[in-house]
């Protein structure tokens, strides 16, 4: 029997189902999503600024921000009431599965460049809730997960320090001493690099430093992460701002997070069930 005639005999629906196509609803404008509508500002000039972030329009975002600054609008207000609101809406749409990674990254690029314009007028960095340090495990060149974390943390109002890829333990310790973060995130994609995490914890302990270390990424296992102290297993990049908030506001430590992860991030997380 030929390949073609075999193919014609198949009833696809009994072999596999493309659930992704099946679950799609009708197309709508992102700003019309009821949850997004609650987040976005309604007043000028903040609404159009937030919409440029929502629509990943970097050039228009910078233009509108510059114009508002020229009109005497406070740079802090532009950041908090315009740019951050737009980014909050982007993060929400991403977690709802309506927006995708490219939307998030391009919105993040537009927000960061617009924030720089505001900071130039302010004359200093804008205020943030607290500092978080991020790194990729020693020996690992994969940093998209870490870049996602940076984007979510910055969108959540945190100063996120990026130590880059393939970061040795002593470099992490130096950065913790320098920036005094409330939280440290480490990521690894390769099956061979997650062993860098306990070395980081050991080096931190040796230096007398105590900071919760969230470890996650492609090949990282929860049971492994929980085999050494000061750490917890991180499941999704978008959980990071909620985890950081819990550490900052509710004074949760790594032991609490291991126990309460699902409650803190506000959703069912099978790894923690």
């Amino acid at each position: 029997m030929s390949y073609k005639s075999l193919e014609d005999k198949i009833d696809q629906g009994t072999i596999f189902l493309r659930y992704n196509v099946k679950i799609e609803g009708g197309a709508s404008k992102p700003e019309d999503d009821p949850d997004v509508a609650e987040i976005l500002p309604t007043d000028e000039p903040f609404r159009p600024i937030s919409l440029t972030i929502l629509n990943q329009d970097r050039d228009k975002a910078i233009d509108l921000v510059k114009k508002s600054l020229d009109d005497g609008v406070s740079p802090i207000d532009i950041i908090n009431n315009g740019l951050m609101k737009g980014m909050d809406a982007v993060s929400l749409l991403y977690t709802k599965g309506i927006y995708f990674l490219p939307d998030l990254m391009l919105s993040g690029d537009a927000m960061m460049e617009s924030v720089k314009e505001c900071e130039a007028v302010l004359g200093h960095k804008s205020e943030t809730k607290a500092t978080v340090v991020t790194f990729v495990a020693e020996g690992d060149p994969h940093d998209i997960g870490k870049n996602l974390i940076l984007m979510f943390l910055r969108a959540g109002g945190f100063e996120a320090i990026d130590l880059g890829r393939d970061v040795p333990a002593d470099r992490v310790v130096e950065a913790v001493k320098e920036h005094n973060p409330i939280f440290l995130t480490g990521t690894a994609l390769m099956t061979t690099t997650m062993t860098a995490f306990p070395k980081v914890v050991e080096a931190l302990e040796k230096a007398g430093l105590n900071v919760p270390v969230g470890c996650g990424g492609g090949a990282v296992r929860k049971d492994y992460v929980e085999s050494f102290p000061m750490s917890f297993y991180g499941v999704e990049a978008y959980h990071c701002p909620k985890l950081a908030d819990a550490i900052l506001k509710d004074k949760k430590d790594w032991k609490d997070i291991r126990e309460e992860y699902s409650d803190i991030v506000g959703e069912f997380v099978p790894e923690y069930s």
Binding site: Y3, E7, R18, E24, L101, P141, D166, T192, T193, R221
Partner: protein, 461 residues
Amino acid sequence: MKRFTRMEYENPEEMLFGHAKYPVKLGKDFELGAGYVIPELNVAPGEGSEVSKEKMVSEYKGIAYSASVRAVNVGLPSFILEHEHIAQQTYNPDWGGACTAAEVEVLENFNDEYGIKTGLRATPADIRDEEKGTGLWGSDLYIKIMETVEACAENDANIISIETTGGKSVSDYGISRGDIKAILFGIGVLGSMDMEHMWTEIVSICNKHNTIPGGDTDCSQSNTAMFLAGGLLGSDCSHTLAAITRAMGAARSLVAVECGAKGPLKDCGYENPIVKAVSGVPIATEGKNATCAHSDLMGNLIAAVTDMWSNESVYHREEMGGTTPQVWLQTLGYEAALMNTAIQTGQGKVLRDLYTLTDKYRDPQALILAYDNAYRIGQAIVKNGDDPYLRAKAAALEAGAIINEAVDAKKMNLTRFERDTLDNALKILESLPTDSDKFTKDCIKRYSRKVEDFDPKNYEL
């Protein structure tokens, strides 16, 4: 270097698992792609074993022994052990050499005692990193890699492979932002250039030691797209974009063969059916028996034209059924036995087609790798074979055309995200220059500004 400008296979129907146009001889009565499929096992060392050379050697000796015992106990005629280096083994070439020697000794002992045919593939790590500004070619890290290749070859590894990472900073930027131009530049231009540099030297070292230069994989780029794309509910990379990224990866991975690699190409190169269609070398692939390492949407289809069936990687630890080398080699061995039985009973092509059809329309990434479509992408590559940029672009366009035809035939439905990103990517690809220098110049200007880690000097541009 001779580029491929014609297909080594006359038509896709000729392609079948266990059969390559140009089999590779590993030893007496042991060939790859010579009429039978061989399981290939890869195991990552357990945590803590990386602390010293002695612990590493002992770990790998244990893996080789454990796998060999199970292979004999379930009656496997042959298997290949792959040793993918962790960074420490390539930073310290003597570690890589010592581990290789220990593994080879175990495998040879089993061969002597039971006659089981065994071989070792050593895969040093690509420890170079654009971010650190240490340079890609001729840097200290580059030298370490080549010293490790030499150490493995000297210690009797049968096959040498590597997963090179040239162009990754730019392609990662493109994959995470849906920027097809960046992906094409990162894979088709920078990746291909880096491959040529690396593989010219690797082949020369292998030839000196009579070791087989196996081949590469576009793991660091196309698999990044595939992993981000994830399952059907994944939202980090469109599956159509991941599919055309894979097609470009084939144009890039072919460079190793053009530099003298003989196959088997590395298991995680899902683009391998395309490279096999063009070049005729044996390939390793992985799918349903690699779920220990990751999930894909083509677990059966990717077996259709394989020559070595792999598990990708698994941590060295205990399962209920034995150690992971034992458990996963056994699953691979049974699947290879099914394929070999099909070949011997004249049912090989039926099984090939069944493997293909179970997954062909499951996802756009699977669709373009069905052997008939892989062949079409190969044809697009060789038509532009002399120019790495143009052939990667042609591969992407052909992959897009294949997906669109399946949509028109109502065999595949796309999500809006898949539809929009595909339309957008094809529109951009069609508008790109036909002159590779012009494209390269444009991209240098654009991505030097946008991608912090990209330094054209690393590629002598």
